[in-house]
């Protein structure tokens, strides 16, 4: 079951527009705040997240999730001794 692009946009355009606006306002809010946002690693993650949205390939949601995830180490059981 695949829908038309037009149907998806009919349902999602205003939703996406509102979300982009929220992000823009949050970035403006950060600019007005005292201190340097760039010094906080969370700001860097947000910027990287926004860059990921520009990618053309499917799987953006998964890649955004992985960006905000702690890395997995296959050797964890050796470290835990289990």
């Amino acid at each position: 079951m695949a829908r038309n692009v037009r149907d998806v946009l009919d349902q999602e355009y205003l939703v996406a527009r509102a979300k982009i606006l929220e992000l823009a306002a949050i970035l403006d809010r950060l600019d007005r705040a005292n201190g340097e946002a760039a010094e906080d690693p969370r700001y860097g993650l947000l910027r990287q997240g926004m860059e990921l949205l520009q990618q053309k390939e499917d799987g953006r949601a998964e890649r955004v999730q992985l960006l905000f995830s702690r890395p997995y180490q296959a050797t964890w059981r050796d470290e835990f001794g289990v």
């Binding site: 079951m1 829908r3 349902q11 949601a61 998964e62 999730q65 992985l66 905000f68 995830s69 702690r70 890395p71 997995y72 180490q73 964890w76 059981r77 835990f80 001794g81 289990v82």
Partner: protein, 270 residues
């Protein structure tokens, strides 16, 4: 549409919520044991909690024509206290034959620590010993990916574990594929803020299909919406999914999975 919520913490909800869920088509639910919002001090506190889950909640649900099932464990957050956890695990068999107990859960990891892993494995031992299904809690936010992989490492290296008797909950875009490809059941937990939404759950259904997949509301004491499953039904309808596809996710799949428990006796509506 009739639906089954496979993961909802009704001890945190009012009787009005039971009525609302019944009006929306909820005919059955399963309630895993979880964290109360504070660390409990003794095994007696868990004994009372298990009485609530196996005696009081099924009666409260029945008033509204809802069949209530439950899972027992000490959750991952309190598993940091290994001594208390072992006392609780030793006490669980007292309740295992209660008519609404279907398995061990929600067990798993929270901050992915060594103590959590130790107690997780001891719960798996208990489930294997009594041949019961397992319901898995995966961590939230930045700990989810690492924790889910660690949980799958433990389960996949244990040849006693029957994968089709394990439901891994709170899957999101970066963990659902790992869980389904390994042969487990997967549950998507929909929250109003910060985690998976009904819209994204519908996306995952479109991407991964309907096999071994279900959806739940958590409905706990934090920000959560007990009617999240009806919300998903609405989203799927709006996108043009067939009633049969929707029913498979919200009714058929939960019933097929829960039927793996010898205690699951569900009476469908006429």
């Amino acid at each position: 549409m009739q639906y089954f919520d496979p993961h909802i913490h009704m001890v945190s909800r009012t009787t009005d919520d039971y009525e609302t869920l019944a009006r929306m088509g909820c005919v059955g639910m399963s309630e895993p044991a979880f964290w109360a919002g504070f660390d409990r001090g003794s095994v007696e506190s868990f004994r009372d909690y298990f009485r609530q889950l196996t005696d009081f909640e099924p009666k409260r649900a029945k008033q509204f024509g809802i069949q209530h099932f439950t899972w027992l464990c000490i959750n991952a957050k309190e598993a940091e206290n290994v001594e208390l956890s072992r006392e609780v695990i030793a006490m669980i068999p007292e309740f295992i034959d209660k008519p609404n107990v279907i398995g061990i859960g929600e067990i798993g990891l929270n901050k992915n620590t060594r103590n959590e892993v130790t107690i997780f494995k001891e719960h798996v031992d208990l489930a294997v010993q009594y041949d019961l299904p397992i319901l898995i809690h995966t961590p939230h936010l930045e700990d989810k990916y690492q924790g889910t992989r660690m949980i799958l490492d433990v389960l996949c290296s244990d040849s006693r574990v029957k994968r089709d008797m394990v439901l891994v909950d709170h899957v999101e875009e970066h963990t659902i594929g790992l869980v389904l490809e390994a042969g487990f059941w997967a549950g998507m937990t929909m929250y109003p803020v910060s985690k998976c939404t009904p819209e994204r759950a519908a996306d995952m259904i479109e991407k991964y299909g309907t096999e071994r997949l279900m959806a739940n509301s958590a409905g706990d004491w934090g920000p959560s919406k007990p009617t999240a499953v009806p919300d998903l039904i609405m989203v799927m309808r709006k996108r043009g999914h067939s009633e049969a596809t929707i029913r498979k996710i919200v009714y058929d799949n939960p019933l097929t999975f829960f039927a793996k428990s010898r205690n699951f006796k569900f009476t469908p509506r006429e």
